[in-house]
């Protein structure tokens, strides 16, 4: 769980190129979209691609995706749940 969360934070900063923040500055429960990290719907598309690339986990249903994308913690749980 901790490794997955750490990796997710690195993906957010390095691959989604969030400006002015370090991976360790992101809290586990901070909202990824809107008020929190401020990601938008284009970032969501990228995150779907990145999660598939790094973890082999495919997020097909965006309703499910929205829940998973609430925070680093919820996304880590989703990834661990769905990983082969």
């Amino acid at each position: 769980m901790e490794t997955t969360k750490k990796l997710l934070k690195e993906i957010l900063v390095n691959d989604l190129k969030i400006q002015g923040i370090k991976p360790e500055d992101i809290s586990d429960t901070e909202p990824l979209f809107g008020d929190g990290l401020g990601l938008d719907s284009l970032d969501a598309v990228e995150l779907v691609v990145l999660v598939q690339k790094h973890f082999g986990v495919q997020i097909e249903d965006m309703d499910e995706g929205k829940k998973a994308f609430a925070s680093v913690e919820s996304l880590a749980l989703y990834v661990l749940d769905h990983k082969e």
Binding site: D15, L42, V45, E46, V48, V49, L50
Partner: protein, 243 residues
């Protein structure tokens, strides 16, 4: 070419304007992913010409209106490389006046032009977003701008491409993915063979039909660095027939 070699996917590129675009882009230094549905011999002859120019050409035969087929071909390729450009050119005409038009004539035309834009646009834009670069060019038609009797299906499909491309340009702009439309008028291809040119030519200020390379050149420009600040535009190539 000022950078590393870029790949451009061209749909419907075995004949007509599509084939001219593929060749023109190969001459400009691009590698080509050449899509076609059934004209294998024609596609192979274009492939040979491209390879003679020293460029790569990958043949990708599938029906652009078939989402499962498009996905099955493209997704594994995207694991290796994402093309810089998508040129959506595939098209057919099934002309008939609307009161006599068969449902099938409507559906076929909408499928090949417009549903395929959804299918290809979705697959490519998803990958281009992450690259933070890319160009999507739709080949529309003067019929989509003015409407054309006998072509309610074709005009609707091409107008749909124009609207869809503008909307997509707004969606993808922030990620430096540019979307534009090239809208040809009457171009010397099989598609206009049966038209009464003696009646039509007087309506064209330049007094002649266009050549396929005059369309292809605009596509090449829109893919180039010179067009870095152009998105959401419809560039008409019609000899002044519609302004």
């Amino acid at each position: 070419m000022d950078e590393e070699r870029k790949i451009i996917f061209v749909s419907g590129a075995s004949r007509g304007i599509g084939a001219a675009i593929a060749l023109n882009l190969a001459r400009a230094g691009y590698d080509i992913w050449l899509n076609y549905r059934s004209s294998t011999a024609a596609a192979e002859s274009i492939q040979k010409k491209i390879e003679d120019l020293g460029r790569n050409c990958r043949l990708l035969p599938f029906d652009v209106a078939d989402e499962a087929a498009a996905t099955a071909v493209l997704e594994p390729l995207f694991d290796e490389v994402v093309p810089y450009g998508l040129v959506h050119n595939a098209g057919i005409a099934r002309d008939n006046i609307l009161p006599l038009m068969q449902r099938r004539e409507w559906d076929d035309v909408l499928n090949v032009h417009l549903n395929s834009f959804f299918i290809l646009g979705r697959l490519f834009s998803k990958m281009m977003l992450s690259k933070r670069q890319g160009r999507i060019i739709s080949i529309a038609s003067i019929s989509g701008e003015t409407g054309q009797a006998g072509q309610v299906n074709y005009s609707a499909a091409k107008a749909g491409l124009i609207g869809g491309s503008k909307a997509l340009a707004r969606e993808l702009g922030k990620r430096n993915v540019l979307v534009n439309v090239v809208s040809p008028g009457l171009i010397e291809t099989e598609m206009i063979e049966k038209l009464p040119l003696d009646k039509i030519l007087p309506l064209i200020p330049l007094g002649r039909v266009g050549k396929v390379d005059e369309v292809a050149g605009v596509v090449r420009f829109l893919l180039s660095k010179d067009a870095d600040y152009i998105t959401g535009q419809v560039i008409s190539v019609n000899g002044g027939m519609y302004m």
